[in-house]
């Protein structure tokens, strides 16, 4: 998360959130219905607004940063048609209680999408999550497990990586659904040398097939390349596959989603490091989901680590009373390259208020 207003305490971030809610035109605070030309208080043109909140309680052995109760994150989302030419989307994250003590406000995404592009093409510009792998395109409240898999954290960080630039998409008409995404971005995103004048370039190729009436299979490949110090460039490669099945004849029937992803990090002159994870999610009853994940990653030997690979396993049980709230409990086992093996238990409350846009498939 890019911190815009760092502070050692969470108060300014909360104050910013409250201020935003109170004064954002037609925000979540009560606003007069209707309005008039004279007062300029009409809310007819206001964007769709929503707020996601995440609260997290954790315990770990040995004791670590996961211990305690905290307000994990609040995400304020606004989206609307701008004019006949553009549609806009923004996701502003408030992190009032971070483990490192650096609270702040971050624009995770804020971009405009061009309307009326030629058939099959899409174009957006602004700040957006880089299409590098599958998990990196998710906001925190969309994560299948409470935290990003360790393989993703090691390569991309614990939150998804965004950057400022443009993305061109093209979906040719083929017998299956294909989408090609090309990005050109500033490169100042934490992965590359933010001081360099060279830009970062990325590409992702997505392929989706119907598997009967109940399932969809997706295979995608990603590459992201950007400058690092000394004039070299770092390249990240990704491959991911997902199978999603549901019972179409029952509203609250069984759903199974199986996601797999491989990431490889290449820096010239250094041994490549890689990571992979697999996550299975099952809705087994109307309000209940179960999840399991396994993650593996390799590290560059640095003399401090016990070895050059690490493993993580997590089990989750979620109670989802509606589309707008969920309580997720998770236990985890981590065998890190550095330090002792760790057991964790976490409980997360996730809620959404307002008009939240449907998530992309």
């Amino acid at each position: 998360m890019t911190i815009l207003n760092g502070t050692r305490h969470g108060v300014p971030a909360l104050a910013a959130l409250v201020t935003f809610l109170l004064f954002f035109p037609g925000g979540l605070a009560a606003a007069p219905v209707g309005g008039s030309t004279a007062t300029g208080t009409s809310n007819k043109m206001n964007p769709a607004l929503s707020l996601n909140g995440l609260f997290l309680a954790g315990w770990s052995d040995p004791a670590g940063s996961a211990d305690g109760i905290k307000a994990q994150e609040f995400e304020l989302v606004a989206s609307s048609i701008v004019d006949p030419y553009f549609k806009a989307f923004a996701n502003v994250a408030f992190d009032p209680d971070p483990a490192g003590g650096e609270a702040g406000v971050a624009v995770e995404e804020g971009y405009v999408r061009v309307l009326g592009m030629p058939e099959g093409f899409g174009l957006r510009g602004g700040r957006f999550y880089l299409p590098m792998g599958r998990h990196n395109q998710l906001h925190s409240h969309q994560f299948p497990l409470i935290n990003a898999p360790r393989a993703v954290q090691r390569t991309l960080g614990d939150e998804s990586v965004g950057d400022v630039g443009v993305e061109l998409e093209y979906a040719p008409l083929l017998p299956w659904y294909v989408n090609v995404r090309l990005t050109g971005t500033d490169g100042a995103n934490g992965l590359f040398d933010g001081e360099s004048r060279d830009m970062a370039a990325g590409a992702r190729l997505e392929n989706l097939w119907d598997v009967g009436e109940s399932a969809t299979f997706e295979v995608a490949g990603s590459v992201l390349n950007g400058p690092i110090p000394d004039g070299d460039r770092r390249t990240l490669y990704g491959a991911d596959a997902r199978l999603k099945w549901h019972d179409p004849r029952k509203t609250y029937g069984k759903v199974v989603t199986w996601t797999n992803e491989l990431l490889v990090d290449h820096v010239p002159g250094r041994k490549d490091v890689s990571g992979a994870y697999s996550i299975l999610q099952v809705r087994f009853a109307r309000l209940w989901w179960a999840g399991a994940g396994y993650s593996w990653d390799s590290l560059v030997p640095d003399g401090l680590a016990r070895r050059t690979s690490e493993n993580e396993a997590r089990l989750q049980l979620a109670w989802v009373p509606s589309e707008f709230s969920a309580v997720r409990g998770e236990i985890g086992w981590t065998d890190p390259a550095e330090g002792d093996r760790e057991l964790t238990a976490q409980l997360q409350l996730n809620f959404t208020i307002g008009a939240h846009p449907a998530h992309k498939y």
Binding site: P84, A203, N225, T251
Partner: protein, 314 residues
């Protein structure tokens, strides 16, 4: 000024390969367009009416199957491809499809289906008498409510008739050469529906004033049309499952009001409906919520006919 540098390391070949692949796919010609209007509807009932009005001048497919809950469609890649090729998308509206249609439209990237374009047609605009439109504040404390009104209007054939006229007008706008044919077929269809409505109302006359219970707020337009009275729901609130206490209260109400029918869609929990029926003596009527929901309901008229006959069956 920023420099855009294509890397010369091992990454460069990958980037070049992706760029090449992109260019290749851009150059692949799209599917050849036939002369017929390609129309996608969200609901099978809208597809059935459109086929009747459009005749051989249109190709129509529906995204939702009759046995699926139209609130919770899982978007599939083939739906995006279908929308990409469409000249017209007809959807219910009133936020029935809000959970799945917007992402599909975004991935379809069809400029004919952008907001304000004639390629988007919201069927609910034909419905003059919308039910359950909130008049005050709305909040999700009332469950998964629809802030613009109940969207399950197609089960009232009087609304189907209005939607047919709306579709005929839009087809005439998009295909002026076929305008006379569309309006002629719409008129014929109106006559057929008018006749069938009279038959159905006569058939269901004994139900007038009958107290019923429904699983979900799905049959309001049906009960209003046929003069039935909905006295309760198995769901505690829309989209919220029943609690034991709610069921106990509902059973008491049903016994007091002598409820004889429980209306439940095929995709809802019919076992719960039958269980409550066993406690009250009410008959659980498992109904297709859309065209094609069960065998023998492949057209709009056949669907309404099936629903009415199931209600009056002994």
């Amino acid at each position: 000024m920023f420099q855009f540098a294509i890397p010369r390391g091992s990454g460069s070949s990958t980037v070049r390969a992706v760029v090449f692949l992109t260019m290749l796919t851009i150059l692949v010609p799209g599917a050849a367009r036939a002369g017929k209007l390609k129309i996608v509807t969200t609901l099978p009932s809208l597809a059935s009416i459109t086929k009747t009005i459009g005749g051989d001048r249109v190709e129509v497919t529906a995204i939702c199957k009759g046995y699926e809950d139209p609130h919770y469609i899982q978007p599939k890649p083939s739906y995006s491809r279908r929308l990409r090729k469409a000249d017209l998308l007809i959807f219910s509206g009133l936020e029935l499809e809000v959970g799945w249609l917007p992402p599909l439209l975004e991935t379809a990237r069809n400029s004919k289906l952008t907001p304000g374009a004639p390629g988007l047609l919201e069927a609910s605009t034909a419905v003059e008498h919308k039910l359950e439109v909130p008049t005050g504040d709305v909040s999700r404390s009332e469950g998964d409510i629809h802030p613009f009104g109940n969207p399950h209007f197609m089960v009232d054939p009087r609304n189907g008739m209005a939607v047919a006229a709306l579709i005929a007008d839009r087809l005439a706008e998009l295909d002026p050469e076929g305008a006379d044919a569309y309006r002629s077929r719409a008129e014929t269809y109106r006559g057929e529906l008018t006749k069938r409505i009279a038959e159905w109302e006569s058939l269901a006359a004994p139900l007038r004033g009958t107290p019923v219970v429904a699983y979900h707020k799905q049959w309001e337009y049906l009960t209003e049309w046929l003069g039935m009275e909905t006295v309760g729901y198995i769901e505690r609130k829309p989209g919220i499952p029943p609690t034991p206490r709610h069921v106990t209260d509902l059973v008491r109400t049903m016994n007091t009001r002598e409820v004889s029918l429980i209306l439940v869609a095929t995709f809802m929990d019919e076992d719960a409906a039958k269980d409550i029926g066993g406690k009250t003596g009410a008959r659980a009527v498992v109904l297709p919520a859309e065209v094609g929901g069960v065998d023998g309901t492949d057209t709009y008229v056949a669907w309404i006919d099936h629903v009415v006959r199931e209600l009056v069956a002994e």
